[in-house]
């Protein structure tokens, strides 16, 4: 396919179908994230960068036979390797042997929330999640360093990608509050049902991205000025790290939230809420600032 627009849209469809597979394999949180991130944000970001580069691809110049051979051999080796893999749904597979039983049996008693994914994410494996939040933050900074963020607030107010379309504007106006409300729900209900800071941050950013696409960059940047975003991102990481330092000051290990309340289980719950809030703020501001950086850049001919 030479049309990269088609390639990107198909990639979005692929992500959505992957989300359905995750749903089918009982991974509701992952399906949620994949649908919001893969099908939503990635597609928008790729289309924004297509606008800055070229839509049409050149026909290939070299022979694909060598790459096909490499791919074929690697694929055959991998298929051979899967013959020893545990079957799908096998309870004796190594994954289900080591720490998983502890998580499944103790999570609701130790961390005090029904959603085990959130409990493992924010409490048992809080270090990993902290690291990943920092990675997201760093990647956002890298994009800003590469592309810069121009303040387009002074440009023409009606300057938007989609021109005067009354129906679209009305529908989007009705949708945005619902999207933001849903984002908040996902953020604070993540302990009980599917959701959490990562998904909420992305959904919240989607609301503003939609606003910018329909009403123009100038309006969007009046609502959320671009200079706030890197600071907000840093604030999220600080909240996360701060909770860890507070638990150290309370005499426990870094990110051991038991000290936050007189009852350790309540303390864990507070800690998870705060940490998820930090993750949500960082993900929201970084996703939105990446979009601002891509959409605010002028196309060079």
């Amino acid at each position: 396919m030479r049309d990269l627009f088609g390639v990107v849209i198909l990639f979005g469809v692929y992500s959505l179908l992957t989300a359905v597979i995750f749903m089918n394999l009982d991974a509701v949180d992952v399906a949620f994230t994949e649908a919001a991130v893969g099908a939503g944000i990635t597609t928008v970001l790729m289309l924004s960068s297509l606008r800055l580069t070229k839509r049409w691809e050149h026909p290939p110049r070299h022979n694909p036979l060598l790459s096909l051979l490499v791919v074929g051999v690697t694929g055959a080796v991998l298929i051979y390797a899967t013959l020893d893999a545990p079957l799908l749904g096998d309870p004796s597979a190594p994954v289900h042997q080591h720490v998983t039983p502890r998580y499944v049996e103790q999570a609701s008693a130790e961390v005090g929330m029904p959603n085990m994914v959130t409990a493992v994410l924010a409490s048992y494996r809080g270090y990993d999640t902290f690291g990943e939040t920092v990675v997201v933050f760093t990647a956002g900074l890298a994009v800003l360093l590469l592309l810069g963020m121009k303040d387009v607030r002074k440009s023409r107010v009606d300057d938007s990608a989609i021109h005067d379309t009354l129906v679209l504007k009305t529908v989007v106006k009705l949708l945005i509050p619902l999207i933001l409300l849903f984002g908040l729900y996902v953020q604070f209900h993540g302990d009980f049902g599917a959701g959490g800071g990562f998904q909420a941050g992305v959904i919240f950013a989607t609301g503003f991205i939609l606003y910018e696409m329909v009403f123009g960059a100038a309006h969007a940047r009046t609502v959320v000025p671009s200079s706030w975003l890197p600071r907000l991102g840093a604030l999220g990481v600080l909240i996360y790290g701060g909770v860890g330092v507070i638990s150290m000051l309370g005499g426990k290990a870094f990110l051991d939230y038991s000290v936050l309340s007189s009852d350790p289980v309540h303390g864990q719950h507070y800690g998870v809420l705060l940490v998820e809030l930090g993750v949500g703020i960082t993900v929201f501001s970084i996703v939105l600032s990446i979009f601002y950086a891509l959409s605010g850049r002028k196309r060079q001919s």
């Binding site: 991974a27 694929g75 899967t82």
Partner: protein, 135 residues
Amino acid sequence: MNEFPGLINYWIVVFLMMAGFYVVISQGNLVKKLVGLGLFQASVFILYITMGNLSEGLAPIVTEGVTTYSSPLPHVLILTAIVVGVATTSVGLALVVRIHEAYGSVEEDEIHAKDLADDDALFHERAVDAEESSV
């Protein structure tokens, strides 16, 4: 043949992974390479989630009267990996945009050709300089 339904997920993963791998190594367009990387990445996600699945298990949210759940650990790893994935992909996209601004192209061979031409010009300039200074 009783292995067949249990392993088919892995074979799909291998197929998708190789499709992504093929796109990355054979396509010259940098945006397409990033899409290929995304294909590859999603196949790894499916691999992890497949391993965490438990037959008879439910989604890992505590429900009354249920004792078997799929393992939450791979879900956690992949959930964060997806978000980190979009962040790193956008770093790639930003690089592609800058490459396009510097070279006027996102095709690998054109960028190479331009680099080689630049090198040649530089080499030529130096040779001329050296000749002049020796005279």
